[in-house]
């Protein structure tokens, strides 16, 4: 199959048509744009992704793009719709009518046909285009701003190699055999979005707070797609906050009633202080902390100079879409065969995001320079679902207390009903589904044992956190001048560099 014959229906074909249509629209209005043309690249790079995400069709996208630039998709003097001159082979491949074949006197001449923009737009797959735009808006801006003479333009329009990066950027893996596979022991949870969900991406080059995406391999096709997700670390951080604040409330304390370094450990995992006896493993102290605070046993961190591992393994919450049908199957309650069969029912990853347009307005009654700015937020649209999993490292040997603590945590997450960023502005309302075990037949845990244990340990925990009594009897002090690990000299009075300023409030 020739390179041109592969264009229709492919991301490369959609990108080719869009890039040249945008180029022609800018070209015919070049004179009208005046000085604005200097700032147009930056403006375009910032608005292509949000406008494409908002539009319901390519025609609507082109319309809103023209409106944003302040032009119409018509030729200024004649009022005719803008036409895109394309090589005849490409016109034939896409099935455009060859009625307006160009002759010697036309701009691009023999071998090219002029196709009205609306016909071109109808052949562009918006979902594919969104995916390619997210990879590089600057590419499209550069192609669109190529104002070259007619002869160079002929070669430029016919050059498909410019678009080769699109396929190179979407590699394909061999499809693995998923039969006779063993699934690790996990609880899978389906999260349904009740409002758009925002979770910031790693890079931001414009006034759009983009959604976090990562390439994921579709094991049914071997293709790679950028899939929106909420990182497991973010869900873990939220869960940690909820369960630790809840634990403190249950023992009658708040985070401000306890030592700041302990509050930091409970809520953020703590930090290794300079001078701490990190080489000394105090098993009595560790066991006591795990006993008095079962939630700590799940998350771990650094507390009382002890670096401790947690039992909890939290997965990413990944959009349930065609590309992730295979990995979302346990959360959906599907077998792998069902997932393969039913994956066309699911949305495509590139079609699941929306853009919420926002403006922070300038207030005339506030003195000083204007701080007005436009800030758009990309989000996963309400109604979509995320597949999430959680597991305990102990697996079947997890104690009833550990299981109950996990159950309580899942309950708190469900009760909180929020995930991701910008919750204050209506983002991230979610409903957590019932956890489903992937392979062990154990029933979903319940939190009763955890609640009873926390109540029984409350007094001991309060005494420890408020400094009234240590958790365990102090070990005999090392000989004077000797470090706790018995090697070398201790450094007296050494404090963490840059430790918090100010006295305890």
């Amino acid at each position: 199959m020739s390179e041109i014959a592969k264009l229709p229906g492919s991301p490369r074909g959609s990108a080719y048509l869009f890039a040249h249509m945008l180029r022609v629209i800018l070209l015919v209005h070049r004179a009208d744009l005046g000085d604005r043309i200097q700032h147009l690249p930056v403006e375009l790079a910032g608005c292509l992704v949000p406008l494409a995400a908002q539009a319901r069709s390519t025609v609507e996208f082109i319309g809103s793009l023209c409106e944003r630039i302040g032009v119409q998709p018509v030729v200024p003097r004649s009022g005719n719709p803008v036409s895109v001159a394309l090589p005849q082979e490409i016109v034939d491949a896409f099935g455009f009518a060859r009625g307006q074949e160009q002759t010697e006197g036309h701009v691009l001449g023999v071998g090219f046909c002029a196709v009205p923009w609306i016909d071109v737009a109808a052949q562009i797959d918006l979902v594919q285009l969104r995916g390619v735009l997210q990879r590089s808006t600057h590419f499209f801006v550069s192609v669109a701003m190529q104002f070259v003479d007619a002869e160079s333009r002929r070669a430029f329009v016919a050059d498909l190699s410019l678009f080769g990066w699109i396929e190179a950027a979407a590699p394909r893996f061999p499809v693995p055999d998923l039969s006779r596979a063993i699934a690790p022991r996990r609880w899978h949870v389906l999260i349904t979005l009740l409002s758009p969900l925002s979770h910031g991406g790693d890079q931001s080059g414009s006034n759009v707070a983009s959604i976090r995406r990562e390439p994921r391999v579709d094991m049914f096709t071997g293709e790679v797609a950028d899939v929106p997700f909420v990182s497991g670390a973010a869900v873990r951080g939220l869960a940690r906050d909820l369960v630790m604040v809840d634990w403190l409330a249950r023992i009658g304390l708040s985070t401000r009633d306890i030592r700041p370094e302990v509050a930091h450990a409970l809520l953020a995992g703590g930090s290794i202080d300079a001078g701490a006896a990190m080489g000394v493993t105090d098993n009595a102290l560790r066991d006591a902390i795990r006993e008095v605070c079962p939630a700590w046993d799940l998350f771990g961190g650094v507390i009382e100079g002890q670096l401790m591992e947690g039992q909890l393994i939290v997965g990413d919450a990944v959009l349930v879409c065609r590309e992730t049908a295979w990995s979302a199957a346990p959360a959906l309650g599907w077998t792998l065969d069902e997932a393969r069969e039913r994956r066309p029912e699911l949305p495509e990853a590139a079609a699941a995001t929306v853009e919420r347009l926002g403006t922070r307005h300038h207030h005339d009654d506030i003195p000083g320079p204007s701080t007005q700015m436009i800030l758009h937020t990309q989000a996963i649209a309400a109604g979509h679902q995320l597949a999430w999993s959680v597991a305990l490292r102990a697996g079947p040997l997890a104690t009833p207390l550990q299981r109950a603590a996990l159950a309580h945590l899942l309950g708190l997450l469900a009760e909180h009903g929020r995930l991701g960023a910008k919750a204050q502005t209506g983002f991230g309302a979610v409903a957590f589904g019932e956890p489903q075990s992937s392979c062990d037949r154990s029933p979903c845990p319940v939190p009763i044992h955890y609640l009873a244990h926390v109540a029984a340990q409350a007094e001991r925990a309060r005494a420890w956190l408020t400094g009234q009594a240590p958790l365990v009897a102090p070990a005999p002090a090392p000989a004077e001048g000797e470090a706790p690990n018995g090697k070398g000299k201790a450094k007296p009075g050494r404090k963490a560099k840059g430790a918090a300023d100010g006295a305890a409030a």
């Binding site: 893996f173 006779r180 994921r216 391999v217 393994i313 939290v314 990413d316 697996g395």
Partner: protein
Amino acid sequence: MAPRPEPAWLETCRARFGAREHVSRPHVVEAVLSAPVAIDPQHPIMLEGALQCAAIAAVTGRTPDEVGLGPGVFVDIPIPIADQVRHGRRVARCSAAECDAIAGERYVRRRPRSERYALSQVRETLGEYKAWSLPVPTRIAAVLRWHVVADPERLYALLPDVLAIGRSRQGGLGHVALWRMMPAKVDRSWRREDGSPARPLPVTSPAAARAEFGPGVQLAEVGYRAPYWHNEARALCALPGGAA
């Protein structure tokens, strides 16, 4: 000095998960990944460490630090992968992970909950309350593949407890959706088809390594046995080229 007594759980671990020589055969183990795997650019992705953690959890229900393991003493945790002595060192018959992969990066962030602390001021730019956002190099791959000589029955029992591979696995990276284990006709656990090392293999000297593996072999002082970070498991090794 008398040797330290072996903890009871280690004996149980050996009885349940130690590789039985008479049944150990070449196999290929595949991890089908549902998330990118974090890598250390200096080290290939190995399987034995993850199996050791899973074996400890399966026997004790606890994490390695809870059962008294630490940097002070090197404890050889039995796993269902056979060992062989090479230049006086016991080396697992397990290759480094092979895969086709795309290079990626994920930022792992932490911010202190400063407003919740009983402090009048919290400095988040340095010190113990520092907020950070660190890039973790990752590989996006469909499948990680190891060539092993293993006790299949015991390995099959242990794999469901290996939830993830690589670093940052508590927060979503390296999650394994499915494990597959297939018998292999040829043992490629130490050497690839072209004779190059399939895993870090201890060597006696650079000259001996070049004589054994060819002039292009890469050498470094690295861990040759899990836990790979332990000082007592480091030696000059011939490294596998192009591993994941």
